[in-house]
Structure formats: C-alpha cells, structure tokens
Amino acid sequence: MNPSLVNPDVPVYNPRNYLNEPATGLRSWLLTLDHKRIGVMFLIATTISLFLGGVFALLIRIELLTPGPTIMDAMTYNRMFTLHGVVMIFLFMIPAIPSGFGNFVLPIMLGARDVAFPRLNLLSFYLYLLGAAVALYGMIHGGADTGWTFYAPYSTTTITKVVPILLGAFILGFSSILTGLNFIVTTHTMRAPGMTWMRVPLFIWSIYATSIIQILATPVLGMSLLLVSVEHAFGWGIFDPARGGDPVLFQHFFWFYSHPAVYIMVLPAMAVISEVVCTFSRKNMFGYKAVAYSSLGIAFVGFFTWGHHLFTSGQSAVDAGIFGVLSMLVGIFTAIKVFNWTATLYKGSISFKTPFAYFAGFIFFLVFGGMTGVALATVSLDVHWQDTYFVVAHFHFIMVGATMMAFLAALHYWFPKITGRMLPEGWGLVGAVMVILGFNFTFIPQFLLGNMGMPRRYYAYPAKFWPLNVASTAGATVLALGLVVVLVYTLISLKWGPVAGSNPWHSRGFEWGTPSPPPVENWETTPVIDRGPHEYDEGATVPPTVSPEPEPTHAS
C-alpha cells in the first residue's frame, strides 16, 4: 500500500498495525522492542502519574482554602507538596513528551524502522517503572517532607523517608539518560534518504536539544542526590555545616541539573507546538533555521544560568551578575520562537481545532511565564520574589501552562496517528477552555500573592492572603474538572472514536504519510525525502513521497 496513493478524504483504519502485530497479549507488550508500543506504555504510565500528582495538588489547594489548618496537619501538608513536586517533575513532566510522544513519533518522522537501540529503549521504560516503584515505596512508608528540591541540611536531617525518594529520582534519571542517548543516535544515523539536517522536522530538533540536556545534566543530579542519600544515611559530612561542609554547594549541584531540567520539560513542549502551528495554519515555519537553532541555543545557554536560583543564598554578587545576564539570553531564544510561531500564522490557512486551541493557550502561558522568568532574572526583583508564590506561579506557568498545553495539544494532534481514531472536536474545545481558564484562575492569584510576599510551602498563612488563596483553589477545581473531561472523552474515543485515516489534519508532516495506526515496521518501504517537513506551497508534494526505488545512500 503506497501511502501517497491513499486518498486522504476517505478515512481507512489500517488493519495491519502495531497494535495487533506481532501479537496482542500482555506479554507481547511487556517484552516489546517496538518504539511505538514503548511510547504508548510511557504515555499510559505518565498519565497515571499526572493524575496522582494532580490529586496531591488538589489536596494542597484544599488545605490552603483557609488560613489555618483545614484538612491535614503540617507534616502531612509538607509531604503533600514534596510528593506533588516529585511526581509531577520526575514521573510526569520529564518523561511525558520525549519518552511518550517522542518515542512514538520520532522514528516515524525520520523514516526509520525503530530507534537505534530498541533494547535500551525498553530498559529505559523499566527503569522508569523501577524508579517510580522505589519512589512510591518511599511515599507509602511516610514520604519525604523536604520539598522536591531536597535542600541540605534539611534533607540530610529529616526523619522522613527521603532516601527511597532520592534513589527513585536517581533511577528515573538513568531512564531519562537512556532515552536521550537513543534519540541522539537515532537522529544522527537513521534519517531517511534525502533527509538532510535542514529537512529534519522541528519536533525532532527540539527533542534532540532536549536529549543533549538529558545526557549532560542528569548525571550531575544523580550524583548530588546520591551525595544527599549518603549524607542522610551515613553522615559523611559533604554538605554538613557542622563539619565544614557547605549546604550551598548542594544548591549549585542541584540547579546545575535542575535548571536545564526546566528546558527538558519545556523544549519538548516547543517541539510539539512547532508541529501544531504549521499543520493548523498550513504554512511553512517562518524561520525554520531560527527555530531549529534556537532549540540548540536554549539547550546550551540553559546550562549557564543555574545560579539565578541562588541570588539570596549567599552567592557572590559577581556570580549573580554573570548568571543574571546569561539568563537573559535564554529569554531571547524563547522570544525568537514566540515571534516566529506568531509570524507563521501570517497569510496562513488557520483552522481552529483543539490542538490549535491549546497552541493559543500555550503562547499565552509561555509569554507570561517567560517574561516573568526574565523579570526574576533581573536580580534585585528576585530578592523580593524568591521563594514566594510569585516563583510558584511563574514556574507553573511554564511547566503546567506551557508543557501541559503542549502535552494536551500533542495528545489531540497525534491521537489519530496512535490509535487510528479521532477525539471529539466539540468536547475537545470544551476541555481546552476549561483547562486554560481554570489554569489562569489558579495561578494569576498566585502571582499577586507572591507580590504581597506570601512565601511558598506555607501550611498556614496570615489572613490577608486569604481571598487570593480561595480564588486560586477555585481555579484549581475548574482545571481539575477540565482534565477529567479530557480523560473521559479520550478513554471513550479509544474504542468508539470515528476512524481517522492516515492524515486527518491534512498535514504535510512526514509522520502522516504512513497509515494510522502505523504498521509494525512504520513504513512499508523506506521513504525518500525530497522537501522540508513543513511545506504547504504549490511546489511541495503531498505527504512524503515514497519513490519506487529508494536511493542507496543515507544522509549522515
């Protein structure tokens, strides 16, 4: 079946697909080496994590509904926000888009049959499960009360079960390293014939940049978490002020990973958005090179900015200046992307489907999240905002706002490819509106709370912070309901959604050239790429051509 001969107007459910071949049993899934199945398993696991983290978030918001104790005691509350952070960051945010959607889409986009190291890919999934299990063990046996940042010396002296959680995060780090390693090698060695670097889809550019960060930063996090564990378990004194150790050194190590980790979370979001904006405006990306290189720029410069988390830690003013100025540069790269995405709409053919709605939300959150981020990097304002709800709102704008929007956009965008079925458009828009509005109502009050000076991680608070906290909790409820709506219609559509066909969005992205759901080997014959990935002008051919005789040479 030659995909270029399929009439896109007559949706066909591909009968021979990865879901039913080579077998359908549980065993065939658990031992699969197929990147598509691994991607789907990652999606299921991360979605479960998302809802677990969401429950923690709701409990936190309910506790903060009144100034005093509401439904739990301080210790439980401290555990809640720690678990919320750990689950959302390590179990959902970091793996969701790269390991889930990336795993599924990246090799198909490249015209490859699989990722370069399928076994490592499966190992990555099992490491994820193992890390999750170890962390879960820690949560059940008391959980940690350190906050996800594990600052020494609190984390090294707490009586709670912080070590299993640290080890869980450590193992999850290796899962993330393996995924990154796989993607880099795959992108380098397995591109289809004719796919030069300047014809690589922008999704892959961003995922590639993400992978670089995963490879270079995660080991440092692993080491610092290990050091905290050693310190907590044996008292070796590396961060112990009583023995001359410096707790601030931990903060250096931690943020050397964890600031770039923010880009591990947001770059894949940008990856998805680049695809969505081109498809739904039927336009070539305005400034493909700028968008592609700015991904690499973010990955690179993202490493130079970790010190902006330490402006009030006793860090030297010289370092603060260097880190402050370098942090501005990351803002520039993000600004380039925002401008280019907006400019892409110019003279396009814009269709306001659900993924595009999430794109709109994404741009809104990214602009405000990004600008407040740069404002935080102006050093003197950070002194006021550091560790207040302003920071909380800022990073939720980026991580939940931008990344969640992109995750939902990706879900709606690739759901037809993954399952061969469509999601309901009307309910999709209802869900999108609820999520976006609920999100704004949750976090805009938190910006104001931060301005007022309410510190984060407060179990109880003075009464003057009350009204805004109530508003925030109300918003969180709407947000949660919106997510439940999305979950419900997604589950229903798995079985009863209308058949999508190979290319329901009439996209010219390469992944749409293969039938939906894709066959086990992705492509019947190796596609030959003769154009860029986002081209909608007269001269460009409809989804990637499969020339009768594949050229023998691969691009390298």
């Binding site: 390693l181 796989n182 795959t186 440092v220 080491m223 004194g237 590396i238 023995r243």
Partner: protein
C-alpha cells in the same frame, strides 16, 4: 555478504550505519560518565579551595606509592586493552582474549592495592565525616577530604569492577569467535569503557595523591 547477515540488526540500513550508531552511543554514554564524576571533582575543587591546608595535609598522609603503582597498572592495562582491540580488529579473537585477560589481571591487581589502602585507612581512622578519628590530622576539612576521597575512589573502583567484568565477558566471546575483522565493535566499545576508567584515574591520581 556474511558480515551483513550475521551482525546487522533488522532496523539498520547497513553495518556501517550500525557501527557508527554504536560508537556514537558509546561516546554519549562516556560523556554521561564524565559528568557523573564532574560533580565529585567540582566538590573536590570547592573544598580544596576552602580548606587548602587540610587537604594538603591529608593528602600527605596517603600512601603515595600505592597511588603511583596503581597509576602505572592502569596505564599499562589501558595499553594492553588497546592491543587487544587491535587484535580483534584484525580478526584474531584469541589474541584479543589474551590481551583482555592480561588487562583483567591488571584490573584485579589494582583492586588488591586499593583494598590494602582502604584497610590502612580503617586502621588509622581516616574515614569520612563523623567516622573520622585520625589524631594526626585534626584540621577542619580533613573529614571532608576523606569523604571525597572515598566517594571518588569508591565510585572509580566500582567502575573498575564493571570494566573488568565487561573485559572478561567480551574477551571470552572474542575467544569463541563471536566477532570478525569486519565487525568487532563490541570489543572496541569494551575497550573504550576501560580507557575511560583509566582516563578518570589519570586525573584522580594527581588531585588526590600529589597536590
């Protein structure tokens, strides 16, 4: 083409691609290893800057000769591994095995010296953090030096053990004729890993024992 059919995984277009992918993957992995150690080296740098005297004094109390001998051992084992990889590249599996066995024994010798050294530390109380009981050096920072010492050499020791296992397994497979002149990438990658272990020690030696 036998090499193509024997060694080529289904999802690669050619053996050359596969080799390239394996090498790139290994280099990326080595990069993560380097950064894993970097956190410890950065900690070493910071505390050395803060506690210059304590570090110099503690370092003087280490047995430099063990460090020196271990450096010579690792450097030489690296050489024999390189020779083994060279043999494998010429299709001589038995030769590769012999060189790898020698390197394995060098690795074992390294660990023996390490054990002697650790025993000594336990006897004189040069132990990390709150276990530090050495009377001779009573400076702020000395326990931190010992903590870093054990972390760096311990982590490196684990890497030596892993490397020895890898050498043994790959060496045995090479002896059994699992690789050929056209395809000896696993041997090469095992060698790369061992060289990295050597490379890290080359930096550990002067930093911990000499300055």
């Amino acid at each position: 083409m036998p090499a193509e059919t024997t060694y080529l995984a289904h999802h690669f277009a050619s053996l050359e691609k596969q080799t390239y992918a394996a090498r790139l993957g290994m280099w990326l992995f080595l990069a993560t290893e380097v950064l894993l150690f970097t956190a410890l080296f950065a900690g070493y740098g910071v505390y050395r800057f803060l506690f210059r005297e304590a570090f110099a004094e503690s370092s003087r109390h280490l047995q430099t000769w063990i460090g020196l001998v271990n450096t010579l051992i690792l450097v030489t084992s690296s050489f024999t591994v390189a020779m083994g990889v060279d043999r494998a590249g010429k299709g001589d599996g038995k030769g590769a095995w012999r060189f790898f066995l020698v390197s394995f024994l060098f690795g074992a010798a390294f660990m023996v010296f390490k054990a002697i050294e650790y025993t000594h530390h336990f006897h004189v109380g040069e132990l990390p953090g709150r276990f530090y009981t050495n009377e001779e050096v009573q400076l702020v920072g000395a326990p931190i030096f010992m903590a870093l010492y054990f972390l760096i050499t311990g982590l490196h020791g684990i890497h030596v053990l892993v490397g020895m296992t890898v050498l043994l397994v790959i060496g045995l497979r090479a002896r059994a004729g699992a690789y050929a002149a056209e395809y000896s990438v696993p041997v090469e990658l095992a060698g790369l890993y061992w060289h990295l272990v050597d490379l890290i020690w080359i930096f550990v030696f002067p930093l911990i024992y000499l300055v």
